[in-house]
């Protein structure tokens, strides 16, 4: 029973990692860059929901919707302002800019909201389910369902819609996609919007279970989600899903059975081992560079 409930805990955390990891991997696939500000989108999303519901007193569903929409918009803005001018710049310049954007978002929220922790205004949960001795907490249930729905919708979008196939085409070859009539800029904006919207969903789920909202809340969870994306194979959406879930499971099991303090070390240790054995990640492609 202990094992089962720890597995559930792992799925819970892993779902959140997976939702965030998808954003990293989609942006990498299309823009060939790591958007280190992605983790901070989670924090911005949580603050906006807090503002909308706790400060402005808007109804909960509307507040959540505003949070997700605002993050999608923020993702588009960040790309347009910070990354688009650097599309032909060396990768190092883009990397430094991404770290800069991350600090900018954290510092801006520190100025606006101060370092004081705010309480997330809603607890989102379904009724708990009891199966014999095993109790599936309502929050976990909600997180699993929301994540499953998001992933199914995203998979459908990528594989079954025209905009999704444009995204695949741009991630493989921008020039060739353009020759097909795909608007590359619009497709990149769309990718940032989807990734950031998923990060906002993750931020809402995260804050709803961990209660507090504060300026640096996105850092560690963002880095771990990045690890999950690399573990699964950066650029691969199914890889990000798998990597996130695996990471959550490993973390939860090592916290319980090995050592609470060591759990992060174990998580990052596994990343190192996987990268040594399979540098392209679990589901990543290792294709020789085209000439």
């Amino acid at each position: 029973m202990k094992l089962l409930s720890q597995l559930l805990n792992g799925l819970n955390a892993g779902s959140i990692y997976a939702l965030i990891a998808i954003g990293y991997t989609m942006v990498y696939g299309i823009a060939k860059m790591i958007n280190f500000a992605h983790g901070d989108i989670i924090m911005v999303g949580a603050y906006i929901v807090w503002l909308a519901i706790a400060v402005l007193g808007l109804p909960v569903p509307l507040g959540l919707l505003i949070g997700v929409a605002a993050c999608a918009l923020l993702g588009i803005l960040i790309e347009k302002i910070a990354y688009k001018p650097l599309r032909k710049a060396p990768p190092l310049a883009v990397l430094i800019t991404a770290i800069g954007v991350s600090y900018f978002l954290q510092s801006a929220s520190l100025l606006i909201f101060s370092s004081e922790k705010q309480t997330f205004p809603v607890t989102l949960a379904l009724p708990s389910i009891t199966l014999g001795e095993l109790v599936i907490p309502g929050q976990t249930l909600l997180i699993l369902i929301v994540t499953a729905v998001c992933m199914a919708a995203l998979t459908f979008f990528i594989n079954r819609t025209k905009a999704g196939s444009a995204m695949l085409a741009v991630s493989e070859d921008k020039d060739a996609a353009q020759l097909m009539g795909v608007n590359v800029n619009k497709t990149i904006s769309m990718t940032f919007a989807i990734g950031s919207a998923l990060a906002a969903v993750a931020g809402i789920l995260f804050s709803s279970s961990y209660v507090y909202v504060y300026p640096t809340m996105g850092s560690l969870v963002g880095i771990k989600a990045f690890v999950a994306a690399v573990l699964g194979g950066i650029g691969s959406v199914p890889g990000a899903m798998l990597g996130g879930i695996l990471l959550g499971l490993v973390e939860s099991l090592s916290k319980t059975y090995i050592s609470n303090q060591m759990s992060n070390a174990i998580v990052f240790g596994i990343l190192i081992i996987v990268l040594l054995v399979k540098p392209s990640g679990l589901l990543g492609k290792s294709r020789p560079e085209k000439v």
Partner: protein, 236 residues
């Protein structure tokens, strides 16, 4: 008036001038060949026409549209398809998905399905392999896919960049036969080739490029008999 008119085109890569005042035209229904050595600027011309490379000066007019002022992704819907050098198929997608992307700007599902049947009729091998991942096709099949993908946009003119590159002689003949068929079906062809002999054999007119300039132009059959062309490009 010519279908495609290029006037005084100037293109720079950084400080290096890749095209020095290029002017030529393509009339409806013609097969025009651009021949010349590696680095003469043939590919750059095609890239500038379809907006992959910006021009510093000059003009490109296609059926009255100023292509230098048209966003690159809108050019294909004017009726111009480009089969790029090196094929540039989407290697991770299936053959069918590649072909569907070729029809990305078209709306009418029925017409797209008709074009797909036409492409499959012209390239039966693509139909046999429609569910296969494109990257696993042979070089010749990938070239066919690139051509089929371009035809999916139902173009008035098709620009082809080195379609014979890296192919076995058997495939080269097949590809040139298909170019002839495409031309016979009413599509205008602008062909860039290093295989000058083959290109001149199917072209109506040709332009010879040397280091970013057109040095010779005229009827393809006459160019084939031209001594300087023979010596420089036909290996005779």
């Amino acid at each position: 008036m010519a279908m495609l008119e290029i006037k005084d085109l100037q293109v720079y890569y950084g400080v290096i001038q890749a095209l020095k005042s290029i002017s030529f035209d393509v009339n409806q229904g013609e097969v025009i060949a651009l021949i010349g050595a590696n680095g003469a600027g043939k590919t750059t011309i095609l890239h500038t026409i379809t907006g992959l490379v910006p021009a510093k000066g000059g003009s490109i007019t296609f059926e009255g549209h100023d292509l230098l002022k048209t966003p690159a992704h809108e050019i294909v819907s004017l009726g111009m398809a480009h089969v790029p050098e090196g094929r540039r198929i989407f290697a991770d997608l299936t053959v069918l998905d590649n072909l569907k992307l070729g029809a990305y700007t078209r709306k009418d599902k029925k017409e797209i399905a008709d074009t797909l049947q036409m492409v499959f009729k012209r390239f039966p091998r693509l139909e046999e392999r429609k569910s296969q991942i494109a990257g696993t096709l042979s070089g010749g099949e990938q070239q066919m896919l690139a051509m089929g993908r371009a035809l999916m946009s139902h173009p008035k003119i098709i620009l082809m960049d080195e379609p014979s590159m890296g192919l076995s002689p058997l495939f080269v003949n097949e590809i040139f036969d298909i170019i002839k068929e495409v031309s016979a079906s009413g599509t205008t062809v602008l062909l860039v080739e290093q295989n000058a002999k083959k290109a001149l054999s199917i072209a109506d007119r040709a332009y010879v490029l040397e280091t970013g300039k057109i040095v010779l132009s005229g009827d393809a059959k006459e160019l084939m008999d031209d001594d300087s062309v023979k010596k420089a490009y036909l290996g005779e």
